[in-house]
């Protein structure tokens, strides 16, 4: 095929791809409302699509000159444009799926405000995605940002506000409690934005592992991934408190894993749950949650039990537990990660990134009991006031978690429902409590200021 024909073909392919995406975005925006920063992103995609379509037509015109060098350049530009839009494609679809009614909107708005108040990611905003998987995730942005600096995508691209793309499972679209796990993804976002785990960091792990492990590059990468998970956990606990840890314990996957062996087993991407919970507990104790009402929960007891499991009991990933060659390699990597100074380093990094946070314990101690009382009377807790101030969302979230995990004391006695023992009644009432708390967060967001 002559270069000219190839360009025409490529132009048509690119045009179809981009115009189709533009139509999908426009019809979604017309029919639904989106959280503020999701809408901002989708609007950016619409405008950039228009610009890209103009760009394609323009490239086609240039190629008609027949100049071979020009044609080669145009060909490359079109390839790059298609690649960029393929990358955007992966972001657009999950954002479109997450319209306001399918996500815990007040919680998302609060997280955006909360994160943007931290100096290290000042004014960052959250774009929410709905994922088909049962996992929460943070959509890394580094590669996308790089392509957005190329023409024609750069016309409407602004470096500020920094957008963090966080995904939640579609089954959890209305939950308040489980979605506290989004704070772990916030941790990954902070790590990416602030370049915590730099190439130098990776090289340093590599050099430390070199003597013990022959394929030290792979091992260093794995250990760094584990460190990233611990870092994200610590960020989450420092920002939102035990609500994150209890959501983590209650997540369906972990409940499935409850046989002891599973809690002790490392994964390729994650350290063992026992280690992760131990590190979270350390932060919770530093923040004096052990002196609060939270420590009376049976889940707190369970957390202490899991965290107390000895490091020597940890197991390598399940596929390598009987592998005579690889098992010792994994064990070396696990021991490396579990060294006190390494863990301390991760703690310190996470603390430094969140040094200007609002301490969740202080908010919980100020409002916790009152919020529980309001919830036990079936009332939205924004009604509970201290010095004329509504309770802060962090206090609402942790108090709700305490209220739910302690069996919704009081509320069950006053609600006239038939068949109280039925699981459907329990789930219905839990959902009501979550909605009341979500409403209280919404009230806080629209408070006079």
């Amino acid at each position: 095929m002559a270069l000219n024909d190839a360009i025409s073909h490529k132009c048509a392919t690119a045009y179809k791809l981009i115009s189709s995406l533009r139509d999908i975005v426009s019809s979604s925006r017309a029919g639904n409302s989106y959280p503020q920063w999701s809408d901002y992103f989708l609007s950016f995609c619409e405008r950039t699509a228009d610009e890209s379509l103009k760009y394609i037509e323009n490239r086609l015109e240039i190629s008609k000159s027949g100049d071979e060098i020009e044609c080669k350049i145009v060909n490359e530009q079109l390839s790059s444009l298609i690649q960029s839009w393929e990358m955007l494609h992966a972001f657009i679809n999950p954002v479109i799926a997450a319209d306001t009614l399918k996500v815990p909107h007040p919680l998302i708005s609060f997280i955006s405000e909360h994160i943007g108040s931290l100096n290290v990611v000042k004014d960052a905003k959250i774009v929410i995605e709905l994922t088909p998987e049962m996992n929460y995730h943070q959509h890394p942005l580094t590669k996308l940002r790089k392509v957005l600096t190329n023409p024609p995508l750069n016309k409407y691209y602004k470096k500020e506000p920094r957008l963090g793309f966080l995904g939640l499972p579609c089954s959890q679209s209305k939950s308040l409690f489980m979605n506290c796990q989004l704070y772990h993804e916030v941790g990954h976002f902070i790590a990416e934005e602030t370049g915590v785990f730099s190439t130098e960091w990776l090289d340093s792990i590599d050099s430390q592992l070199k003597g013990d492990i022959s394929n030290s590059g792979w091992a260093a990468n794995t250990v760094q991934t584990w460190m990233g998970e611990l870092f994200a956990d610590i960020i989450a606990v420092r920002l939102i408190g035990p609500a994150y840890t209890f959501a983590y314990i209650e997540q369906p996957k972990l409940l499935e894993n409850l046989p002891e062996k599973q809690i002790l087993t490392f994964g390729i991407d994650h350290p063992a749950d026992s280690l992760r919970l131990r590190e979270q507990l350390d932060i919770l104790k530093e923040d004096e949650w052990d002196k609060s009402q939270i420590s009376s929960l049976k889940q707190w007891e369970e957390l202490n039990r899991i965290a107390a499991i000895k490091q020597s009991d940890y197991l390598p990933p399940i596929d390598y537990q009987d592998d005579a060659v690889m098992k010792p390699v994994w064990e070396k990597m696990m021991s490396f990660l579990c060294q006190k100074d390494k863990l301390k380093e991760i703690h310190n990094l996470a603390k430094k990134k969140t040094e200007d946070r609002i301490r969740p314990t202080d908010l919980f101690n100020a409002y916790g009991e009152s919020i529980s009382e309001y919830l036990s009377h079936g009332v939205v807790p924004s009604a509970c006031r201290k010095n004329g101030e509504m309770p802060h969302p962090i206090a609402i979230i942790n108090s709700a978690v305490y209220f739910l995990l302690s069996g919704m004391k009081g509320l069950f006695d006053i609600v006239q429902v038939t068949e109280k023992d039925k699981i459907s009644s329990l789930v219905w009432l839990e959902h009501r409590v979550e909605m009341w708390c979500m409403k209280a967060i919404e009230d806080w967001l629209v408070r006079p200021r």
Partner: protein, 241 residues
């Protein structure tokens, strides 16, 4: 009149500003406490203004020939819509939507409430409520049946004042054990909630109407052979293995 006197007097009537403020300050564990949240910045002499919330149920074109109580799935009739503060909902002429107040309320055990359209809105032929009565101890945001009965489309901004709440002291307390309770069909809603009606068989049972004597809109077509065959075929398809 002091609060204690009011409680015990058997006096019944509209509650005024000072009393409303007093009731708002009562601790939540007191069954005579009143909650309005977010707290209004101003209370009128004998009423409290309530604002429009952000969630709506908007009618949609649907497959059902009509609404059949207890059978038609409400989601077939309405779709939920969220309008962020600052944006607006267009209410075409002669159109109705379900909305809710921004304020969540909890009434005392000896106070009933009535919700009325704000008069300035009513003058633009907007009505917000056809079932305005609120029972003592009710809690939740109030569902509004918003209708534009004018000939002109109107836009509605969430967050603007739309209703006024009148509080009325009942002649006697509705509970005798002073214990809080939550009952009723709609428990603590924070968004508009569609109706939960009984099926006609259940609703008419108290009148001695037998199920075989209750008719449905499509029953008349059963005389038609084609329709009858269609129903038979559907029943066959749904038969359990």
């Amino acid at each position: 009149m002091k609060k204690e006197d009011l409680k015990n007097s058997g006096y019944s009537g509209v509650i005024t500003q000072d009393k409303i403020k007093d009731l708002l300050e009562q601790p939540i564990k007191d069954v005579h406490s009143l909650v309005i949240t977010p707290r209004p910045d101003k209370i009128d002499s004998d009423s409290v203004d309530l604002r429009l919330g952000s969630y709506f149920f908007v009618p949609r074109s649907h497959r059902s020939p009509c609404f059949i109580p207890g059978i038609t799935i409400p989601q077939y009739l309405y779709h939920e819509q969220y309008i962020p503060f600052g944006s607006y909902l267009v209410l075409p002429a002669h159109y109705t939507v379900l909305g809710a107040t921004l304020e969540f309320i909890k009434l005392p055990s000896d106070v009933s409430g009535e919700i009325l359209t704000k008069s300035s809105l009513a003058r633009n032929f907007i009505t917000i409520e056809t079932a305005p009565w609120i029972h003592p101890l009710y809690r939740g945001c109030l569902t509004l049946e918003i209708a534009n009965v004018s000939n002109t489309p109107v836009i509605l901004y969430p967050g603007v004042k739309i209703a006024q709440l009148i509080l009325l002291k009942t002649s006697h307390d509705t509970i005798i054990d002073k214990k809080d309770k939550i009952e009723g069909t709609y428990v603590g809603p924070v968004r508009p909630e569609p109706s939960q009606l009984d099926k006609p068989e259940k609703a008419l049972k108290s009148l001695g109407i037998k199920p075989e004597n209750v008719f449905y809109p499509a029953d008349e077509y059963l005389n038609d052979e084609v329709y009858r065959n269609h129903i038979t075929m559907l029943l066959e398809r749904w038969k359990e293995p």
